[in-house]
Structures are given as C-alpha cells and as structure tokens.
C-alpha cells in the first residue's frame, strides 16, 4: 500500500493548513480519498486474481464504492481543475467498471446456464436459417447422387479419397460391405477418433466464421459436404447396401450432420444480419447475431466431441446394424427434444 503511505504522510503534514484554507476542490478530495483508496485496493486485488484475499465486506462494498467514486468523478468534473486527480478518478472508475461489469461468471456457472436453456434458446433463435441449411443439405445430397448417377467420374471429384480407398464405382459388394463392418481390425482407431474430432471442429468453426462474408461460404460448404454423402449413398445403393450404409453413417452421422447444420445456420445467421440489419446499425446487428451464433457454436463443438467418440469408438465396436440405427436415431431424438421441447429460461442471466 504505497498509496496509503504516500498520502497519509502528505495529508498529516498539511492537515491543519487544509482545514484552514484549502481550495474547496482539495477539501472535496481530502474528504473522499479514503473511499478512493479502498476501491483502488479492492480493484487491484481483483485484477491480480487474488479474490480469496478479499473479505466478504470488500466484495459487497465493491459496487457501492464504484458508484460512490463514479459520483465523485461527476462532481469533480464540475468543480475541480486538478488534472491529476481527474485523470486518476477516470482511471479508477474505468478499472472498477471493468470489474463490476466484467464476465463474472465462473466456468461452472456458465456451463449451468449454457445447458440450462441458453444453448437451446439460441438454437431456436436461428430457426429460419436452420430451415434454409436443412434444405441446402438435402439439396446437396440429391445433387451428389444425381451427378454420380449421370456420370461416374463425378464420384472422384465429390468424394475425397486416397488411392488406397476401395470405395470406388465398380467395387464388389463384399469389398464395400467390408468397409462398413471391419472396424475392429482398423489400426489406431482411437487416434482416428481424436483426429476426426479436431478436424470436424475446424470445419464447423470455418462454417460459422465464414458467415461473416455475408453467408455465401457456409452455403457452399453445406452443399459440398452433403454432395459427398449423396455420391457415397449412390455407390452403396448400387450394391444393395443402403440399409447397412445408412446404419454405418447414422450412428455418429445424425449428431455430426446436425452439428454441421447448426454451424452452417449460425454462419448464415451472422451473414443475414449483416446483409439485412433492419433498423439496427450494421455493427449492432453483427454483434447481436455474432453473440447468439457463438453460443450455438460452443454447443456445436461439444456435439462434435460426441460425434467423434461415436464414430471412433461406437462404430468400430458396434457391428450390428439395428443397434447402430438405435443409437443414431436415439441421439437425434435426444438433440431435437433438447433443442425444441426444452424451453426453460436460463438461470442467472448475466444481463443486468
């Protein structure tokens, strides 16, 4: 507390004089300096992250002191010409403002609010974009199917695969069937799951973030993703493996595709708000949409973790197609129920 020492020394030396004949603005400062110093101490501790060293009284006093010092500032601006004091008060009020209006939630509190309604509410807030994204994804799958059905060469441009991928037009039924059910023999399956999770999270974040460019890139990403799917569906359908293929895909795909759909919708939402801000300014509209989309995206990342686990572990361990269907559509039902039927207002809202 260097400040304390500094001022108590100064103050005691000149106390008598101040009492007698100081400027009114100096007397104003002398009377309130204790409050300022106390707020300064509290804020300094908070900034250093030493919350545990704060007494309960200090924590309770913070908002009160903040308002007291803020009103000191208002008065000082009208009555004092001491530039150093004014600058100090402005700095102090600003620092206290950062603490009083900072993100005060703990991680736990934020998670509770997030799962307890904030996430599903944000998802529902995107409903026009959700419909648009769904339509695009269906269209993408249909286009993928039709293109490959018309000309098999399209398969190679739609499905990115290595030279070793056996899933190509002309492959026999056994080979294709093998790719759906030989999971247990795959090497490093857990590594694969972890890789997919980080890869897909990247794609989804890309989908959201590119909404910034007025929503066009997410559209293309959505279509391209499901066109691949349509092409593969055509391939397996040709060998009478539709039922097995859909099972193989569904176990994690319902979660993953839904996550990509949400990410795309979030991107579209940001893009749409910027292209058509309505009565708000472009900047306000972008910020509002961006924050809602960010909540959705946090959820999308969690969904992709689920999908990655289901894909890496569940699909390799569960070989029976009916079980795959049960898990896949069980997950889908769960998500849809959570998003659209779970309408609880989030607890402990951060807004004042």
């Amino acid at each position: 507390m260097a400040l304390f020492g500094l001022f108590s020394g100064k103050a005691s030396a000149s106390d008598a004089a101040v009492e007698a004949a100081a400027l009114r603005s100096d007397r104003f400062r002398q009377e309130r300096e204790a409050d300022w110093t106390r707020l300064d101490t509290i804020v300094t501790r908070l900034e250093a992250g030493r919350t545990r060293r704060l007494s309960d009284a200090d924590v309770l006093a913070l908002p009160v002191l903040y308002r007291t010092v803020a009103s000191s500032l208002s008065v000082a601006r009208e009555t004092s010409l001491d530039a150093a004091t004014l600058a100090y008060l402005e700095g102090l009020v600003q620092r206290a403002w950062f603490q009083v209006y900072g993100p005060r939630v703990t991680l736990w509190g934020w998670l509770r609010r997030f799962f307890g309604g904030e996430w599903s509410r944000s998802v529902r807030g995107l409903w026009p974009e959700l419909i648009a994204a769904l339509a695009l994804m269906v269209a993408g799958a249909v286009v993928g199917w039709l293109l490959v059905a018309g000309d098999q060469d399209w398969y190679f441009s739609l499905v990115p695969g290595g030279f070793l991928d056996v899933r190509v037009p002309g492959a026999s039924r056994e080979v294709l069937r093998g790719t759906l059910f030989d999971g247990a023999k795959q090497d490093g399956l857990t590594v694969f799951a972890a890789y997919l999770f980080s890869h897909n999270a990247g794609i989804a974040i890309l989908c959201f973030a590119l909404g910034f460019a007025f929503g066009v890139p997410p559209l293309l990403l959505l279509i391209q993703n499901t066109a691949t799917l349509g092409a593969m569906l055509w391939l397996f359908h040709g060998q009478g493996l539709t039922y097995e293929f859909v099972g193989w895909l569904s176990i994690h795909g319902t979660t993953e595709l839904l996550a990509i759909l949400l990410a795309g919708a979030a991107g579209l939402h940001v893009g749409r708000s910027m292209a058509f801000p309505g009565k708000r300014s472009l900047i306000e509209a972008a910020a509002e949409a961006g924050q809602r989309a960010a909540v959705v995206m946090a959820g999308v990342v969690l969904m992709l973790v689920c999908a990655g686990l289901l894909e890496g572990l569940g699909r390799q361990l569960i070989e029976a197609t009916p079980a795959r269907y049960a898990i896949g559509y069980g997950m889908l039902t769960f998500w849809l129920f959570y998003f659209f039927a779970f309408r609880r207002d989030p607890q402990g809202s951060e807004s004042e």
Partner: protein, 309 residues
C-alpha cells in the same frame, strides 16, 4: 506562456480517444489500443503458445520413445494414448488459450497484459462470456486457418494457387483493422467488443495543499506572493493544466521559462531562484479563481477566452 510545450495527454492521437457511457450514465474517456500494440500483444501470445506446445511435445515424445522402447513396439495402446493427449493439448492451445485468459478478471491474455491493453464491451455494458467466445472463434479463421493452409500448401508441389488464396485470405483479415475507425478486427465486429488501453494511474499529491502554495509564501525567501484578480484573469484552464504539468515534472529549465513568461505578462521583473514557490502560489490562486468561476457556471477555457470579470 510562450515556451509552452504540448501537454503529454494530447500526444495520444485524438482519433484514438472515445467516450464510453456506463450503465450509470457516466461518460468515461477511453483510449483505443493502437494496432502496433495489438500486434505486439498477439506476437507475445503466439510465442507463449509456441513455446508451451514445444515443451509439451518434447515431454510427450520423450515419454512415447521410452514406452516404445520398453515394450518393443508390442503395446501401441499407451503410445496411442500419448498421441491423443498431444492432439487434445494442441486443440486446447488453439481454442482455449485466448478464451480462458480473456474471461479472467483482467480481460487480457498475457501478451495483452504485458502491453497494457485489454478487451471491453463496445456498448459500455457487461462484457459477457458470449462476446469473448465469438471474438475468439473468429480468430481461428482470421489467423490459424490461413496459416495452416499456407503451411500445408507449401508441403505439396505445384500448389501456388492454394498458397496465394491463403495469403490473400490472411491479408484481408489482417488489414481489417485499417478500414474502420474503431480499429476492430473481424472478431471484434462480430462480438461487439473492442480493445482499449488498460487504465493504470497512481493518485498524485495535490499541488495546492502544500504550505507555500496555500499561503503564497516562499520557504526560501519568505516572500509572500499575492496576485490580484486582474493578474489572475490573464489565463484560463488550458494554461492552468500546463502549469500543473510543469510543476509535477519539476524540470528547472521548464519552470524557469514558464516563470519568466508569466512575470512578463504581469509586468513583474522576473528574478531567479524562487521559481517553484512563485509558480505554486500562482497555480493555487489561479485554480481557486477558475474553480469559483466554475461554481458560478463561468468557465474560461484558455487565455484567448474573453474575460469573465
């Protein structure tokens, strides 16, 4: 005052000053962080991320080699676990580093803290977790994705086109802060945040409360300085603040110059050796006069403002 240098406060370019209205209705002056400072902060953060990743990688690689040697490659499970741990660490570094630090009480990553800046809500309200989330999700496509593209494009032959696209992409976002007046990057725009200079000020001693300043008496010579109303009416608030700054800095040559300038204005014969007492006395009495004028609703911005009697 002829030898007056510009006050230091004005040396912060005025196009970086903004006024922020708190929910209580108090206008707070803030200074936006300069682009250079923000770049510096980012570079520090990237360095920290790089070094910690490097250390983690080395530790895990060492562990992996030890395990591999112990089991003669027969037990890949443990090695697999290490690879997964590494992937998770990389992922967390990429997505969680900025998030965790900016959600903290300082609203700043270590790099920002070192360079003295922090993030704040543009609307003057609460900085929410959603804002921090949004601005850092965008950071991924502004920075990490094009870099990743650039690196992977280099690895393959004949991919100038991909490299060019990545470079262009990177440039568009990197130059974004140059094309709006609040120096927002894309993430700030989407999140409703901006980056400001963190206030850190010490309360300085009041100049007008020391003995000589109050009584107008010099402790060196014992001379008592009393100025008449007319002698005080020459200057306004701007000159008062300049005088305050000169006194706080306490450079003898500056004080002498100001002392001489004031004496000439007053028609006094400037002596030497007692400048500080003279200036303190003049400062205190000028401030008393201007502040009593303020209470009456009369303000005098500088010496060119018409007299207020």
């Amino acid at each position: 005052m002829t030898a007056v240098v510009l006050p230091r406060k004005l040396s912060v370019r005025s196009d970086r000053r903004r006024t922020l209205l708190t929910p209580e209705g108090i206008a707070l002056p803030i200074v936006l962080a300069s682009r250079g400072t923000r770049l510096g902060a980012l570079l520090i953060d990237l360095l920290i991320m790089f070094v910690s990743l490097l250390v983690t990688t080395l530790i895990l690689a060492y562990g992996g080699i030890r395990l591999w040697g112990d089991t003669k490659g027969g037990e890949p499970g443990a090695v697999q676990f290490l690879i997964i741990a590494w992937l998770v660490v990389v992922w967390l570094t990429r997505y969680a580093y900025f998030l965790v630090f900016e959600l903290g009480p300082r609203g700043a990553t270590p790099g920002k803290r070192i360079t003295g800046i922090r993030i704040a809500a543009r609307n003057g309200g609460r900085l929410t977790a959603e804002m921090v989330l949004a601005r850092n999700l965008l950071r991924d496509i502004e920075l990490f994705l094009p870099l990743q593209l650039l690196i992977s494009a280099r690895g393959i032959e004949g991919t100038d086109y991909a490299g060019l696209t990545a470079g262009l992409w990177f440039l568009i976002f990197a130059l974004f802060p140059f094309f709006n007046r609040d120096r927002l990057r894309a993430g700030d725009l989407i999140a409703g945040t901006w980056v400001v200079e963190a206030p850190k000020r010490k309360l300085e001693a009041a100049l007008s409360t020391s003995g000589p300043a109050l009584r107008g008496t010099s402790s060196t010579t014992g001379v008592s300085y009393r100025f008449t109303d007319a002698e005080l009416a020459i200057y306004g608030e701007y000159e008062l603040q300049t005088l305050e700054r000169v006194l706080r800095e306490g450079r003898p040559e500056a004080m002498a110059a100001v002392h001489e300038a004031i004496c000439r204005k007053l028609g006094w014969n400037p002596g030497a050796g007692d400048e500080r007492a003279f200036l303190e006395a003049y400062y205190t009495q000028l401030r008393a006069r201007l502040e009593s004028g303020m209470r009456m609703g009369r303000r005098k911005a500088d010496k060119n403002t018409p007299g207020t009697g």
